[in-house]
């Protein structure tokens, strides 16, 4: 952590970056994002096991971008998000500097190629709890799954925290806000909530880096991240392509192969 503070201090003092996006203390054990803009404020930075939120969300926000070149305290999923944002032409190499926190030490990564190399060495797996939940769901019958999601999604209040917390949901005009046609009802109710979460999962299929920040952001604790994990998993399994692996990869859902294999179209 001292290493991180020192680095942040140097970068800000030298003017190499204008803002360091990192974690700060919140209520209790919760860590919240902080935006450090001067060298004398680096003591606001904290890094420990509770820092799990994917801060890459802030890299596309106009308010943050207006500050100038950004350095970001990055956990593995943040690095993957940076690559995915780069692949989608949302981020330029010269605008971002990653301070990767890996195995208790800090690594400064400026080039996308370097990030790509580092990411390739990190095992890419969802947490044991999520995996257990996923196995439980896939083992259920269709009816049981429907009942499970109906009960879960009925609790959704459509606060859109899952959308706001997602680094990949950067569209300035989101289809959820579109009212001509009104694809997604504004009110929160069973069918509309199901539709909303289906759209979210479909729009993230092939782009999701499986950080789970959407699920963590949910104020009611609905495991919404499992839907995006599942959609992303489907893309990985069927098209052998994943979100957040490379800064150059094409988006799996905007391309095709003439020999894509399925068995359900008659």
């Amino acid at each position: 952590m001292e290493e991180l503070k020192l680095k942040a201090k140097q970068l800000l003092a030298a003017g190499t970056v204008k803002v360091v996006i990192g974690y700060g203390t919140g209520t209790g054990d919760v860590r919240r994002p902080v935006f450090v803009r001067s060298a004398d404020k680096v003591d606001d930075l904290v890094f420990d096991g509770s820092c799990t939120q994917n801060l890459a969300t802030y890299l596309t926000k106009v308010e943050v971008r207006a500050m100038g070149r950004m350095a970001i305290v990055a956990v593995p999923s943040t690095l993957r998000s940076i690559l995915q944002l780069a692949a989608e032409k949302q981020l330029r190499e010269e605008n971002v500097l990653a301070l990767a926190m890996l195995d208790g030490s800090m690594k400064e990564l400026a080039a996308f190629d370097a990030i790509e190399e580092t990411v390739a060495t990190i095992p890419d797996a969802i947490s044991a709890t999520d995996q257990a939940m996923m196995d439980k769901l896939t083992a259920m019958s269709v009816g049981e799954r429907r009942a499970f999601w109906a009960a879960e999604l009925n609790r959704c209040v459509k606060c859109y925290a899952c959308r706001s917390s997602c680094p990949m949901c950067y569209c300035e005009r989101c289809t959820m806000d579109c009212n001509r046609p009104q694809w997604i009802p504004v009110a929160s109710h069973g069918i509309g909530n199901l539709e909303y979460h289906m759209v979210r999962a479909m729009h993230l299929a092939g782009r999701c880096v499986q950080c789970g920040t959407c699920g963590a952001a949910c104020p009611i604790g609905i495991p919404v991240h499992l839907l995006t994990f599942f959609a992303e998993g489907t893309v990985r399994r069927q098209f052998g392509q994943k979100g957040g692996g490379s800064a150059k990869l094409d988006y799996a859902m905007s391309t095709f192969k003439p020999d894509d294999k399925e068995e359900f179209i008659r």
Binding site: R145, E195, A205, A231, F256, P258
Partner: protein, 145 residues
């Protein structure tokens, strides 16, 4: 005897192959069940996955999605894109608990009038057996504004 349940089916078809194919079914005077409402779209690539969800929430008991065979797309690659989308969407539908027996995906060319009749009959019979899609319709009853 109680009246037999007649399902409502929505078919999303492409203008160039399946719509023409369904037209051929008619001009060939092949009879098929009248439970299907055909919605013509320019291409299967135009069939947004939301249309399927909306069809169910607005009272469809089953959905048919059909277009040109691979390599036959009027717009060269619309059906390839659609196929990828369905490959992901179909799995996701299953994951959230939508009954896949209520959805038929197919390629029907402009020359396959008989295949269209067979497809509609088969899907109608299958959905009739399954009964009305109450699970979704009950959910939707609260939400239709």
């Amino acid at each position: 005897m109680a009246e037999q349940f007649e399902p409502k089916l929505t078919a999303f078809v492409c203008n160039w192959c399946t719509y023409a194919g369904a037209d051929l079914t008619g001009t060939s005077r092949i009879k098929y069940q009248s439970n299907v409402r055909v919605i013509r779209l320019p291409c299967t690539g135009r069939i947004d996955f939301m249309m399927v969800l909306k069809a169910f929430s607005r009272g469809s008991d089953g959905v048919i999605i059909s277009g040109c065979h691979p390599n036959d797309c009027h717009y060269t690659s619309g059906n390839y894109h659609a196929r990828r989308r369905w490959m992901v969407f179909r799995d996701l539908l299953d994951f959230v608990g939508i009954d896949l027996n209520r959805i038929t995906f197919s390629w029907v060319s402009a020359a396959e009038g008989a295949k269209w009749a067979e497809l509609v009959n088969e899907t109608t019979n299958r959905v009739r057996e399954l009964g009305p899609y109450q699970e979704i319709q009950q959910l939707a009853a609260v939400g239709i504004e």
